[in-house]
């Protein structure tokens, strides 16, 4: 059934279709309509779930950890400072190998106070052990929630669904709501082998000496490596079930491109539009959309950038004193495999619009250069 809905509600419907059993959320800003609609769905009896209102995002994740440990399918959503407040428990959820799924609406970090998009909130959680899926449409958002539980429950690692504030979260698009029966077939109930059991009590996550701590970290890394294969397999399975496909990266006209723009989130669809415009003028430009931050799709990135003469990473984020975070990831993947120069442009922080012309101007600027003469280039800033 096709419906017109905002990105936030696409998440709520995705969680409902995934039959989440526990939703824990802080109901005040920076919260969004994600849990507002979910609370209505639960109150109306349309979803059999516990909706727990908590006093902070830290507690929201703590409640999800408890629920997931007991074998429930747990869900939450947050943004920006809320995600930052969860930080300690993001490590706990991943370290405890709990397949929790959460939606993060990408909002820039304060101060100065802001409600608009950029990726610094989610990218700051890069090393917590959460998978991160960056979405570019409301359909992808809904589908990703369903797919995320499938992947998470197979490898026992949590997933963060990431979407841009406003340009997805509050923008209405046509979304195909899959049939519940189809979703149930694709995503069976979660049967957690290690769930809490009152008749066989154990404590989880207790003191572990240097003798064994490192082995648990090896297992986490192996689970993440395994996840990449699972995500690729599920891209195929999901397409079979629902007719839509989501690969770790999405290449667009990269095969013969001299210049490839690497982007993520909604900026990726804008970049593709700009690529079409530039192609019409005979410029050999392509786009590589990054959907996965973790597990990082090294091989896909190398493969799709192997023909490029110049790579431009446009980052809607910054690591202060360094450069854009996706640029760091892409450079790291290419190091030792390719000598292609990587140019890094920082654009659209705090929700500043990124237009097709923005990408055209960036490409024109890069055409004049052989190699980058700065670590990063600011896009459209007042001087």
């Amino acid at each position: 059934m096709k419906k017109v809905m905002m990105g936030n509600h696409a998440i709520s419907h995705g969680a409902t279709l995934a039959r989440v059993q526990v939703i824990a959320a802080y109901p005040i800003t920076p919260q969004t309509q994600v849990v507002e609609l979910l609370s209505e769905i639960v109150a109306d009896g349309k979803l059999k779930a516990e909706f727990i209102k908590v006093e902070s995002e830290h507690s929201a994740m703590a409640a999800c950890i408890g629920a997931s440990s007991a074998g429930a399918r747990a869900f939450t959503a947050t943004s920006a400072q809320g995600l930052a407040l969860m930080h300690e428990l993001l490590h706990w959820a991943a370290g405890a190998r709990l397949p929790i799924v959460m939606a993060d609406i990408n909002r820039a970090m304060a101060p100065p106070w802001t409600i608009w998009t950029d990726q610094n909130d989610s990218l700051s959680q890069r090393d917590t052990g959460w998978m991160q899926f960056y979405c570019q449409s409301n359909q992808e958002v809904l589908d990703s929630v369903i797919m995320a539980y499938k992947v998470a429950e197979k490898v026992l690692m949590p997933v963060m669904i990431v979407l841009d504030a406003f340009s997805l979260s509050h923008t209405y698009e046509i979304v195909d709501l899959p049939d519940q029966a189809l979703v149930d077939k694709y995503l069976p109930p979660f049967d957690y082998k290690y769930k809490l059991n009152v008749s066989d009590p154990h404590t989880y996550g207790g003191l572990t000496t240097p003798d064994w701590y490192m082995e648990f970290r090896v297992k986490m890394q192996e689970a993440m490596e395994q996840a990449l294969g699972v995500i690729k397999k599920e891209a195929v399975e999901f397409e079979k079930a629902f007719g839509r496909r989501y690969d770790p990266v999405e290449p667009y006209m990269v095969e013969d491109a001299d210049i490839v723009l690497v982007t993520s989130g909604t900026a990726a669809s804008t970049a593709r539009f700009a690529v079409d415009q530039m192609r019409q003028k005979g410029k050999k430009v392509g786009n590589l959309r990054m959907r996965l931050l973790r597990p990082f799709p090294f091989a896909d990135v190398r493969e799709h950038l192997k023909n490029a003469k110049k790579v431009i990473v446009v980052d809607r984020n910054i690591s202060y004193g360094y450069h854009g975070i996706w640029a760091q990831e892409v450079k790291s993947a290419l190091y030792g495999h390719s000598k292609v120069p990587v140019f890094n442009f920082i654009a659209g922080l705090g929700g500043r619009d990124i237009f097709p012309e923005t990408f055209v101007n960036i490409v024109n600027q890069v055409k004049k250069m052989k190699r980058p003469d700065q670590e990063l280039y600011w896009v459209e800033v007042k001087r």
Partner: protein, 97 residues
């Protein structure tokens, strides 16, 4: 309290569960030896309000025949019960005295 050195059951990474689990319930892990101060309840003044029982973070207070009883195998001596007691009838007494 006799301390029994437990043998590690897992010898290979493949045998490990995805996360650390204690081999048995925490009931098999007495923590009373951590204590420096011991709570002593003056039952003559106690009004059986159950506040100490509710506040004990280690669930180390049992309710026996309408009275609170400290389980000294697990009480770590934190003193929260004494702090919260409305009748101030729980004294924290130095261990060994």
């Amino acid at each position: 309290m006799a301390k029994e050195r437990k043998k590690i059951e897992f010898q290979k990474v493949d045998d490990l569960p995805p996360m650390v689990q204690s081999q048995r319930s925490m009931a098999a892990n007495p923590t009373g030896s951590w204590r420096n101060l011991k709570p002593v309840i003056d039952l003559g003044q106690c009004i059986q309000c159950t506040i100490c029982w509710k506040f004990c973070p280690d669930a180390a207070i049992d309710w026996v025949d309408d009275n609170p009883v400290i389980n000294l195998d697990f009480c770590k001596g934190c003193g929260i019960c004494a702090e919260e007691c409305p009748k101030k009838c729980i004294a924290m007494v130095k261990e060994g005295k």
